[in-house]
Amino acid sequence: MSDPILIAAGLTRELPGDPPVLLVGGADLAIEPGKFTAIVGPSGCGKSSLLYLLGLIDRPTGGQLLLEGRDMTPLSGDERAAIRLEKFGFVFQFHFLLPEFSALENIMLPMRRLGRHTPAEIEARARELLSFMGLAEKAAKSPDRLSGGERQRVAIARALANDPLLVLGDEPTGNLDSANSARVVDLFRQLAHEQGRAVVCVTHDPEIAAVADIRVSMLDGRITEVLRQA
């Protein structure tokens, strides 16, 4: 077992109200690099909410979140955006590509925003990622000219653009047929096992849950079980 890069301690998210609505309550979780973690549970159990907290998209109302030992809770919105840009990659159920940009341009966006590389390097890396996804010849295509599976693979390529430590998926196969679904699952395992990234997926899909290294079960906003699978 390697050292976790992301640790949630008593992570809590409540929606204000009387009484407040509990989305996530006291979640303790360690996310490890090189492992594929699946968060499972029935609809409305708070697994997506937990993912948004882990991904610094949402702010917890209680508890702590440590990324590489550093507490993320007091950071400003801009600081969290900068960390998301550099260290996180998101894949959602719907592909969520920007419709005005081609597949290649979509993948280039996070790299251009980070601005660490020259435009030529950025384009080269984007093409490389597309080839890795088996979509080299679709570079110039607009998202609405791609199939559902292709779009999701472009979205994964975009998530990988800035070489993130963590890849977070919110039902990434929820909208795909079984063949494409299997392909995406393979990709995610590859990202964890071959590239050493921490991969966290929220899913309904029992197949994903079955192949995950760590399986986190949730019910009513609370983590009920963390299971290491061989």
């Binding site: 998209i57 996180f88 969520f96």
Partner: protein
């Protein structure tokens, strides 16, 4: 930093290019505003310039007359002051001699200003009499050589020349209509009687055009001859001053008046009512223009705020990728700015075209062909651009702030 701005501009441009119709409407709103501002302001400023030129040139820039705004205190008061404990009996009020006393000194001071010319003159009333008809004439004695450089009277002559006054003994130039009333023509002789008596004969050596603002019964003579006709040798009661820069008139007039006590009236003071009118005109023009630009900025507001509403999902994606709130706000402000810039460019072209059309129109008034007075200065182009850009940014600001505040969690949760 430049890379970030370039990226955000790229996103903004893509948004606008996808929504072509919205973009076109917003751009034309600004363009029409800018175009009409240019056309209207060119006409307003052009006509104002012509009008002010007429006001400035109607008479010398400063007229110093022998009047005092407040009469000099009587010698007794001057000697003792109002508070003095003195009682004077049998005090005789002293009659001041009319006329500008130290006029040579004033003239020297005026001529010392580079480019300025002062023209001394004497005016007085005489009666012209011919064949039982009487006409009052306001005689103005001038030095033709100097006066022609100070005022535009020589341009107003129908016949004869100003310089002819020096060649003909008793020569006088009067208005065309007055000459008509007396039945006089060029070279005719007429009797002139001043108030103190002593008739002389004058010869018409020139006629002024009708309808000029000289006063219909003004007549010009040689200064020397006017002084002798009016029985006031060596006296003058008016100095007309022409300045290289008419807009300094007010200050110079005030200085002259302070030093010499004689009333020095600048053209601004003389025509303050007209200048007030111009101010009103300008206020009207700028209000109309502001209204046009306001409407244009509504167009930008609508375009940007529909763009924000349409792009809520994209906003959430970009936020999840790691774009900051500031990035999102800037994207939509840039959209507003880009619409305004495009509008300004098209508006400049539209305005130039309108000015070409207006410039080609000819108007005929009383036989004289005129063009629409236009004043095309880059200043107007810059004002229109600055106002539009400002309006664009302000109009885009509110929806852009809304874009920045979109909560990605809400959108992502809703879509999943």
């Amino acid at each position: 930093m430049a890379g970030r701005l370039g990226l955000l501009l790229h996103v903004a441009a893509r948004h606008l290019l996808v929504r072509r119709r919205q973009t076109a409407v917003a751009v034309s709103g600004v363009a029409v505003g800018v175009g009409f501002f240019l056309a209207v302001s060119a006409m307003m400023i052009g006509s104002q310039r012509d009008f002010v030129k007429t006001l400035i040139d109607a008479a010398p820039h400063i007229v110093i007359s022998d009047e005092l705004r407040s009469p000099a205190p009587q010698p007794g008061l001057r000697e003792f002051g109002k508070e003095a404990a003195v009682q004077l009996h049998g005090y005789k009020v002293r009659t001041e001699v009319r006329g500008i006393k130290d006029w040579q000194q004033i003239l020297r001071e005026v001529d010392a200003i580079p480019g300025a010319i002062g023209s001394p003159s004497l005016s007085g009333a005489v009666t012209l009499r011919l064949g039982g008809r009487d006409e009052a004439l306001a005689v103005i004695g001038i030095d033709p050589g100097i006066e022609s450089r100070v005022s535009t009277i020589s341009e107003k002559l129908r016949s004869g020349r100003l310089i002819d006054l020096e060649k003909v003994q008793g020569g006088v130039i009067i208005g065309e209509d007055q000459a008509q009333r007396l039945g006089l023509g060029m070279g005719d002789i007429v009797a002139a009687t001043p108030a103190r008596g002593g008739t002389r004969t004058l010869r018409i050596v020139g006629l002024f055009k009708k309808g000029q603002q000289l006063g219909s019964n003004a007549g010009y003579m040689l200064l020397r001859e006017a002084q002798s006709l009016l029985g006031r040798p060596f006296v003058i009661n008016r100095i007309g001053v022409k300045l290289p820069d008419p807009y300094t008139a007010e200050a110079i007039a005030a200085a002259l008046e302070r030093r010499h006590a004689y009333k020095a009236e600048s053209w601004q003071e003389r025509s303050s009512d007209f200048l007030g009118l111009l101010l009103t005109r300008n206020i009207i023009m700028y209000s109309v223009v502001s209204a046009i630009l306001l409407v244009a900025s509504f167009g930008i507001y609508t375009a940007v705020s529909t763009s924000v509403a349409d792009k809520r999902r994209d906003i959430a994606i970009m936020r999840s990728i790691g774009f900051s709130e500031g990035d999102l706000q800037l994207i939509f402000v840039l959209e507003g700015l880009a619409l305004a810039v495009a509008g300004v460019v098209v508006g400049w072209l539209l305005g130039s075209a309108l000015l070409e059309i207006l410039g080609s129109i000819k108007i005929t008034v009383q036989g004289t062909t005129m063009r629409v007075p236009l004043d095309r200065t880059t200043r107007q182009y810059l004002i229109a651009a600055a106002a539009s850009l400002l309006a664009g940014v302000v109009a885009a600001w509110l929806p852009a702030r809304k874009a920045a505040r979109v909560d990605p969690v809400e959108i992502l949760r809703g879509a999943a």
